[in-house]
């Protein structure tokens, strides 16, 4: 590979391909290097993609055959104890009408491949089965290309976009961003469970093509700071659970055992009953929030998507942040190409654009969220059981006057969590979400 490129992109995920689409469309000589056998073969997420950010890159993505699994018409939140739980959901006709494809599920093996094909059709060169093993630098330390694991695999480029995902041995080796600390990532495992399309329609009370997301908190993460999820695909369900990696290490919990327990929960088991597991995957989620964002660009390089730790934990949004950061990176790169300045200063338009976009603004808004969950383990330990006991008591019909029930519930809640801790929880919670 003696050729040189304007831009080399590491990783064919939503961030990298977004950049590639925009650059290639403007005639910028772009190469995408993907370590998997095909784009998506190494990629995994919960399952939800967002139409708004995809449309900003490919306005006609529906006509172009984007492999949508189900269009999300209802979003549910569950708070589970060991034996049951609370549920809250919101469904709206608008999500199947003027807001159609606001959010939809995809499988990454299909979607990323399709998305990379769109970039290739626009003129980007997408090379698979190629691991980027190092960055090439000139005497001053400026990044001038990448080294790959192919024979004679050095490749020069004016700009390198690092969109290689959260788990980056390349970052660990070259230091373009620090290796994440265990407390800044969640480890999630997910099983894809096949069920007939009509069975999913019935169990989730939706029509053909419509889908439901369920985000789940509570005792299912065995006292660890974590989240579980249940997403509907066309003929399968994505069932996953994750927790903070530092918590995993401290509690000696095996991820797959926690997943199996979750699948057996009385609110989950009936939904996946008779389903056939088809795949089992594991991945990290960047959960450090605003304070974990690394330097976003340097001399000759930019960092986008999960690699830049761009993940909105309370809203479980990541793929849209990846696409938006990829798009903004492309804009900044084109600016730099026009000026012929690929230094950190020349690429700084990227950081500025991200700062003024929803990406950084949202992460800033929820800056205190990771600390909130880290400090308030009672959300995952004592509270689910206490909340469950309260509901059980109120619903139970046993001749006891309701005021007496109420008093005993309040007493119990105070016993499980002292008043001062309740105040701390509410205050910190308000600070985390305001």
């Amino acid at each position: 590979m003696n050729e040189s490129f304007d831009v080399a992109i590491v990783g064919a995920g939503p961030a990298g391909i977004s950049t590639a689409c925009i650059l290639a469309e403007s005639g910028v000589k772009t190469i995408v290097l993907e370590r998997g056998e095909y784009p998506g073969s190494k990629n995994m997420f919960g399952g939800v993609l967002y139409g708004h950010d995809l449309a900003q890159i490919l306005p006609d993505y529906v006509q172009k055959g984007c492999p949508v699994e189900r269009n999300i018409v209802e979003s549910r939140i569950w708070y589970l104890s060991e034996d049951g739980g609370y549920q809250l959901g919101y469904r709206d006709r608008a999500f199947d009408d003027e807001l159609k494809f606001n959010a939809f599920t995809v499988g990454r093996a299909k979607f990323d491949r399709w998305f990379a094909d769109q970039a290739a059709q626009k003129g980007a060169l997408v090379i698979c089965s190629t691991v980027v093993t190092d960055l090439l630098r000139d005497g001053s330390g400026k990044v001038i290309g990448v080294r790959t694991d192919r024979p004679e695999g050095d490749l020069r480029a004016s700009v390198v976009l690092l969109s290689d995902g959260i788990n980056s041995p390349l970052a660990a080796k070259t230091g373009f961003r620090p290796e994440p600390k265990p407390e800044n990532v969640a480890l999630a495992v997910k099983e894809t469970i096949a069920l007939p399309e009509e069975v999913i329609d019935e169990r989730f009370n939706v029509g053909p093509g419509q889908g439901v997301t369920t985000e789940i908190l509570g005792e299912v993460t065995l006292g660890m700071n974590g989240v579980a999820f249940l997403y509907t695909n066309k003929a399968s369900l994505s069932v996953g659970i994750g927790a903070n990696l530092a918590d995993f290490a401290a509690r000696r919990v095996k991820p797959y055992e926690m997943l199996e327990r979750f699948k057996a929960h009385p609110m989950v088991a009936p939904l996946i009953k008779a389903g056939k597991p088809r795949e089992y995957l594991a991945h990290w989620l960047p959960e450090g929030g605003y304070d974990a964002i690394p330097q976003l660009c340097g001399d000759g390089f930019l960092v986008a998507g999960d690699s830049a730790m761009l993940f909105n934990a309370p809203h479980r949004e990541g793929s849209n942040l990846a696409m938006a950061s990829g798009r903004l990176a492309a804009e900044a790169i084109m600016e730099a190409l026009q000026r012929g300045d690929f230094s950190r200063r020349g690429l700084a338009g990227y950081s500025a654009r991200l700062e003024s976009s929803f990406v950084i603004q949202d992460l800033k808004k929820y800056r205190h969220f990771p600390g909130f969950l880290g400090r308030h383990h009672e959300i995952f330990t004592t509270l689910p059981g206490a909340a469950a006991a309260a509901a059980r008591e109120m619903i139970r019909v046993d001749g006891v006057p309701k005021r007496r029930k109420q008093q005993s519930i309040l007493r119990n809640l105070r016993r499980r969590l002292p008043l001062l801790d309740w105040i701390r929880l509410l205050w910190d919670g308000w600070r985390a979400f305001r």
């Binding site: 093996a109 979607f111 041995p169 265990p182 991820p255 088809r278 795949e279 089992y280 995957l281």
Partner: protein, 93 residues
């Protein structure tokens, strides 16, 4: 609850390289200085197993998440991606 991770890994497609992409830098450190041995339970693919007095690395079922690399308290794991095109191959993703 006992779960066999092998049953889960069996669902996946792997293109296994003859050469491991994972390795312990110093095998004796694990028994000498690491009483907790978190690699034995944090790995979602149970790659690391205690065999007699030594930890074995069953890289063939690695899901490439990176957990062991940052979870090892002694940073004793040498971690590379499998060669281009090798390793786990997602069907759904």
């Amino acid at each position: 609850m006992s779960v066999k991770v092998e049953d889960k890994l069996f669902l996946n497609r792997f293109r296994v390289d003859e050469e491991s992409h994972l390795g312990l830098i110093d095998y004796s450190l694990c028994t000498r200085e690491c009483p907790d041995q978190p690699c034995l339970y944090i790995c979602p693919a149970n790659v690391y197993r205690l065999e007699a007095d030594r930890i074995s690395v069953n890289y063939e079922g690695c899901l490439e998440c990176g957990t062991c690399r940052i979870g090892c308290p002694h940073f004793n794991i040498e971690w590379r991606f499998p060669k281009g095109g090798y390793g786990v191959r997602h069907k759904f993703g």
